[in-house]
């Protein structure tokens, strides 16, 4: 209980300081929007229906891209972990892309896929798929060899060892990959929309920044931040539920 109180107090305190700074320190409204102004802009956007439309568009881009990246990334990770030839061929590319700021290639994806949601979906996939591959592969490779031996001693086939030992053992890593993917995916949505879009929260941010409408800009960022926090927390919950043995 104590911890919840401190957390809430910290958030409220932070917001109060931000409000104070916005009114009395950085008085130029072009540089900083106060929490109150941002929330008021949020309310306006909601009443105009602008916010809902943007959330739907960005939401589609995020969830479709995230889903595809997770499924494909997990499958590829399972393949690279299980077959050395595949791993040798793919690993230099996977490591290379993971380490590079490929999000900078967003304009290129706009060129290829157009200004609709599919270019943004592509950006999200490009950001989420690599940690998924790497985490899944790590999960399989970190399977406790003693557990594998125990299964072998009962005469388990390679398929059975994969199904009954490697896969459940890698679950914590896969879920950690999901958790990491959330933040990256949201970045992908925003940057993709900044590169070229007809709607969405990143689109709103872009418009707002061009006319220096700070409250609207801040409001959009707040919505994205909230989505990130909620999704990350949801995956943490999932992690605790599905893999309780990893303290």
């Amino acid at each position: 209980m104590q911890r919840v109180v401190v957390t809430i107090a910290s958030v409220i305190g932070g917001l109060a300081i931000w409000e104070f700074i916005g009114h009395y320190v950085v008085k130029n409204a072009l540089f900083l929007a106060t929490p109150s102004a941002s929330l008021s802009a949020l309310g306006d956007m909601w009443h105009q229906g602008v916010l809902q439309k943007a959330i739907v568009i960005s939401g589609e881009e995020f969830f479709i891209g995230f889903f595809i990246a997770v499924v494909a990334g997990t499958l590829i990770g399972l393949l690279t972990a299980s077959f050395q030839n595949i791993s040798l061929v793919l690993t230099p590319w996977i490591s290379g892309f993971y380490a590079s700021p490929i999000v900078a290639l967003a304009p290129l994806l706009i060129l290829w896929f157009g200004v609709g949601i599919w270019s943004k979906i592509a950006v999200v996939i490009s950001l989420v798929i690599f940690p998924m591959i790497i985490n899944t592969e790590a999960g399989i490779k970190h399977t406790d060899p003693q557990l594998i031996e125990a299964a072998r001693s009962f005469g388990a086939s390679k398929m059975q060892i994969f199904e009954k030992v490697a896969l459940p053992s890698s679950l914590p890593y896969i879920i950690a990959g999901l958790r990491l993917g959330v933040g990256r995916g949201l970045i992908g949505v925003v940057i993709g929309e900044l590169a070229g879009a007809r709607g969405g929260l990143g689109f709103l941010i872009n418009n707002a920044s061009q006319v220096f409408n700070m409250p609207q800009l801040f409001a959009s960022v707040i919505v994205l931040a909230t989505a990130g926090i909620v999704l990350t927390a949801a995956f943490q919950r999932l992690e605790r539920m599905l893999v309780p043995w990893k303290a």
Binding site: Q146, A151, S153, F154, G155, K164, P168, L171, V243, W245
Partner: protein
């Protein structure tokens, strides 16, 4: 009395001329032994003498270079449902409950029928885990996890039970208790047991015979029959006959143990 195979009672486990190399290093040299059905046989010897390798070969987990290993006359080359291995480290799956872990051998072998489930329930009771079926390994003490290990191995009704220092990771008192428990469970399950340990008194207390392996390359130095009455309880450890056996075995391996300790010292200096 030695566990000698005869036409009347053929050996359960028969090993002839077993030799194994790791690259150029000979780790087992011409091992020959017979184990009768239902016998409890311990293996002792200095570190590096190949005891664990021997056990793993019998289970089919490792290949060998010469000789033969057979159970009931059948040659052994891979793991099978006729044998089960109890590892030193508890290799329990943390995401499965006690019951589910104990059932995994049956599950892998496709034998998890309704009747087997019933038998497994009773087996868990036999090893002292009644009431803990839904617990997870992380909630159990070391001794209890080894009981699950044991239940898991016994669940597949192995003809030969292979145990590799199963109590080494337990504290001394838990170990004493587990020894007596093992005897109780073994006399109920009636399996043939090959048991590796570094503790000479543990070997003598549990076994019908003690095989003493020599230093690398591992050879069967001596096959000692333990002529102590059964059922045994811990007080037998304090009888003069028991001490004689301890002395005898210690004499056999003492010089080998000293040499290997010295060797390790020299290598590290």
């Amino acid at each position: 009395m030695e566990g000698v195979a005869s036409a009347a009672s053929p050996a359960k486990l028969s090993v002839r001329g077993l030799t194994k190399y790791y690259d150029d290093l000979e780790v087992l040299s011409d091992i020959a032994v017979d184990v009768a059905d239902g016998e409890f046989v311990s293996i002792v010897g200095p570190t590096g003498c190949g005891k664990t390798t021997f056990l793993r070969i019998v289970d089919g987990l490792e290949p060998f270079d010469a000789g033969e290993v057979s159970i009931d006359g059948r040659q052994v080359t891979k793991p099978g449902p006729d044998r089960a291995f109890v590892f030193q480290a508890d290799s329990l799956q943390p995401w499965r409950t006690v019951w589910s872990n104990a059932a995994i051998g049956l599950e892998i072998q496709g034998r998890l029928t309704g009747a087997e489930r019933e038998r497994l329930n009773r087996l868990l009771e036999l090893v002292g885990l009644k009431g803990f079926e839904r617990y997870y390994p992380r909630q159990l003490s070391g001794g209890m996890r080894q009981r699950v290990n044991l239940a898991r191995a016994l669940a597949v009704h192995p003809e030969v039970l292979l145990m590799d220092e199963p109590f080494a990771a337990l504290d001394a008192q838990t170990r004493e208790i587990m020894q007596t428990e093992l005897l109780r469970i073994w006399s109920a399950a009636k399996s043939t047991v090959l048991f590796i340990t570094h503790q000479i008194d543990e070997a003598i207390y549990l076994s019908d015979r003690v095989l003493v392996f020599s230093r690398r390359p591992g050879r069967l130095q001596e096959d000692i029959a333990i002529d102590l009455p059964r059922p045994r309880d811990p007080s037998v450890k304090r009888t003069p006959k028991f001490s004689e056996y301890v002395g005898h075995i210690w004499n056999l391996i003492e010089s080998a143990v000293r040499e290997s300790v010295m060797e390790e010292t020299v290598v590290h200096s």
